[in-house]
């Protein structure tokens, strides 16, 4: 039982990251009816922006020393004699990085939001009123542009970034089994859940959220009711890119930075289909289910199956519920 809990928690932590990625795809789809195939590459850009602001800029000669490593006297004193992997040592190592982590996150969110706005204004808005298929094809083309641009700007070099939270090991006993958790993963999960919850609340309870829902329901009617549909489009892309930046930063801390980060979006697309393209709650359930299923399969059947079993589940759900777990059923009237 203890082991079950261990792998279930591991799965939930992965699932929360999937949910954070999925929220961007759902936001864009809800507002614009466009499935953004390039979302993984927006996340990759977010990760590279985090790398730029948390590693490259603080490493420059002209950058203040405290930005690269904040070392007040009291912290140096506390650090002395501590083992690198001791819990307090790990917290202090992280604390020294706090300024650049904050700088990195703010920079990544702002730059990625700007990028999302730029994409919407220059590529998507001119296609408003055209077939949705054309807009989807633009997102497919965007994959090549974004991956090529990232290689040009940052090269394909693999690099590593600081953890967003202290990566202290956490151990506790459940049913006689020692459960191990990473501090950073727990914080990542909390961040992902908070952002996810915030967006859902925003869509449900705010004026902007009502406008998004109205646009999702019927763009023409929303227009005629005085809702600025182009503004909604723009907001959706900004929201997707900003949340994508946080997701990218988290992924980069777990896996390092490389152009392959962009591929992550494709596996999450399957999760979004399972949950329902226009349902935040459905996607959340799907992301958590796939995360847990992956961890359980890894535990019981090994990694060879871990990539297959969850996606078989996705297929089964889609066969029986083509609109996903909680997706809105569309009725075409002829």
């Amino acid at each position: 039982m203890g082991q079950f809990i261990q792998f279930a928690i591991n799965g939930l932590m992965s699932g929360a990251i999937y949910a954070l990625i999925a929220v961007g795809i759902v936001s864009v789809f809800k507002a614009t009816k466009v499935v953004n195939f390039a979302h993984g590459y927006l996340i990759m850009f977010g990760a590279y922006f985090y790398f730029t602001f948390a590693v490259i800029i603080p490493g420059q000669e002209w950058a203040p020393a405290w930005l690269a490593s904040w070392q007040p006297g009291w912290m140096v004193e506390m650090r002395q004699g501590l083992n690198m992997f001791s819990p307090l040592g790990a917290v202090l190592d992280w604390a020294a990085n706090v300024p650049r982590i904050i700088f990195g996150l703010i920079g990544a969110v702002l730059c990625n939001a700007l990028l999302g706005m730029l994409i919407e204004r220059s590529l998507m808005r001119p296609l408003m009123g055209q077939s949705v298929f054309a807009m989807i094809m633009v997102t497919v083309g965007l994959i090549s542009i974004l991956s090529g641009a990232a290689s040009l700007i940052w090269t394909a070099d693999a690099a590593f970034v600081p953890h967003i939270a202290p990566n202290t090991p956490i151990r506790f006993e459940v049913f006689g089994t020692m459960v191990f958790l990473f501090g950073a993963d727990i914080v990542n999960m909390i961040i992902a859940l908070l952002i996810f919850g915030g967006i859902v609340a925003m869509v449900k309870f705010t004026k902007s959220g009502v406008a998004i829902r109205a646009t999702a329901e019927d763009q023409s009617t929303a227009y005629s009711m005085g809702i600025s549909v182009p503004k909604i489009f723009s907001r959706a892309w900004i929201l997707a890119s900003a949340t994508g930046a946080v997701a990218g930063a988290i992924l980069a801390t777990r896996n390092g930075i490389s152009p392959s980060l962009g591929l992550f979006g494709f596996s999450v697309l399957a999760i979004v289909l399972m949950g329902g393209l226009d349902s935040y709650v459905g996607c959340f359930i799907a992301a958590m289910s796939v995360g847990v299923l992956e961890a359980m399969t890894q535990w019981k059947l090994g990694g060879e199956w871990a990539e297959i079993v969850p996606y078989v589940a996705v297929l089964v759900v889609i066969i029986f519920r083509p609109h996903g777990l909680m997706g809105q059923k569309e009725v075409e009237r002829i």
Binding site: F7, M84, T155, A156, A158, F182, L251, S258, G302
Partner: protein
């Protein structure tokens, strides 16, 4: 026009010259071409972009030495995106464009080598090296024109396991990526472990990128392994696994194979995440570039790098990935030159025969001593250990051969 004996002979000579000229020109190209596909984009672009400059260096060096029997050589490299089908298409295009001037090719993955292997027949066959150490390729009967520029992954596992055994290890874990690259030496590794009396307590497969680190580290912790061999990774996953294990205080000794042994990556991890790679060991078929004593060939590379790559990080350091490529190109050049010096045509059969005939080759420092091509591979290597303080991998074993 009346056709007398003189005009008949003159016309005949002219016609022969006209028809024969292309054949003669074809047989003696102005320069020989060696093609290459590299993953300049895609998941292994980090490695591809570090390897690419090696071709410029090799072209300069080999041509300064007289090319192949006085004929200069030219490398033509193209991007594959690490997609085997792209490499095959690149190879076919090189064949069509260069014809008989194309005398060798360098592919960028095991998948590409396997995909191209059935195409290497008759006039379409060329000598072919690659970045791969796949065990299946080290078989001259099934892959007569393809070769490895070092030991197979199976050999590397043998070397690592022997070293673990020598260090008194008994329980090992194998963590590998769920790719062909990751799975390659598994079955052989099981047999070697049994032969050496080592118990494999965990075989764990992970994603090649974006692996679920907590889950894998948990399983490693529960397995009770003393040593863990990591296989099938290049820039990612292996550092995170080691970092995770260290965070949990696992005393496991980690070991890697060639692609997980690059100093540049280890240095970057140390700079960003601290010295947790201390004690990380792995098998390396070649000397590192900074170990240039008794390595005259490396000295030549270093001198050229200073000039050709001035102002870039490549000026002072050649990655292990580029060294592997250079070794592959050196072997190809040796086979081509030996064939030309023997007065034979540079056909794939003749060059492959020369390649398999390489015995006691003094590589100029790549390996510990003279090496021979045995089953189209060089089964030697030694174990190195990384020190975050010095930023160097230093040898902890003698050169071991399989």
């Amino acid at each position: 026009m009346t056709l007398n004996r003189r005009t008949f002979l003159a016309t005949g000579a002219a016609a022969t010259a006209a028809m024969g000229a292309p054949m003669i020109l074809n047989a003696q190209p102005a320069e020989y071409v060696l093609g290459a596909s590299l993953p300049l984009t895609g998941p292994f672009a980090t490695a591809g972009q570090l390897v690419a400059p090696a071709f410029a260096l090799a072209q300069k060096l080999f041509n300064d030495e007289g090319g192949i029997a006085g004929t200069p050589i030219k490398f033509v490299t193209e991007d594959s995106g690490y997609v085997p089908q792209n490499t095959l298409a690149n190879y076919q295009r090189a064949l069509a464009t260069e014809g008989t001037a194309l005398v060798g090719y360098f592919a960028d993955s095991t998948g590409a080598m396997k995909l191209i292997a059935p195409e290497l027949k008759g006039e379409n066959a060329r000598l072919m090296g690659s970045t791969s150490f796949a065990s299946e390729l080290a078989n001259p009967e099934t892959h007569p024109y393809q070769y490895l520029s070092g030991p197979t992954y199976q050999d590397q596992f043998d070397i690592l396991m022997q070293n673990i055994k020598n260090a008194g290890g008994t329980k090992i874990a194998i963590i590998y990526s769920n790719t062909e690259f990751g799975r390659d030496p598994l079955e052989h590794g099981r047999a070697t472990a049994e032969r050496l009396g080592l118990e494999i307590v965990l075989e764990e497969s992970t994603k090649a990128q974006g692996a679920d680190i907590p889950t894998h580290v948990t399983k490693l912790a529960q397995s009770g392994a003393e040593h863990c061999i990591l296989q099938g990774y290049v820039t990612g996953v292996w550092p995170q696994l080691i970092g995770g294990a260290r965070q949990f205080g696992l005393p496991v000794q980690f070991h890697g194979t060639f692609w997980g042994m690059e100093k540049l990556i280890a240095d970057r991890i140390t700079a960003e995440a601290g010295p947790f790679l201390a004690g990380y060991q792995g098998v390396m078929p070649y000397r590192y570039f900074y170990d240039r004593e008794d390595a005259p060939r490396y000295e030549q590379y270093a001198a050229l790098s200073k000039v050709m790559f001035a102002g870039t990080p490549l000026e002072n350091y050649m990655s292990t990935w580029a060294i592997q490529t250079m070794c592959g190109l050196e072997l190809a050049m040796k086979a081509l030159r030996d064939t030309a010096e023997a007065g034979k045509e540079l056909t794939a059969d003749n060059v492959a025969e020369s390649l398999s005939g390489i015995k006691d080759w003094d590589s100029g420092g790549f390996f510990g001593g003279p090496v021979s091509m045995d089953n189209n591979k060089i089964g030697t290597g030694r174990v190195y250990e990384y020190s975050p303080e010095t930023g160097l991998f230093t040898p902890v074993s003698d050169w071991l051969s399989t």
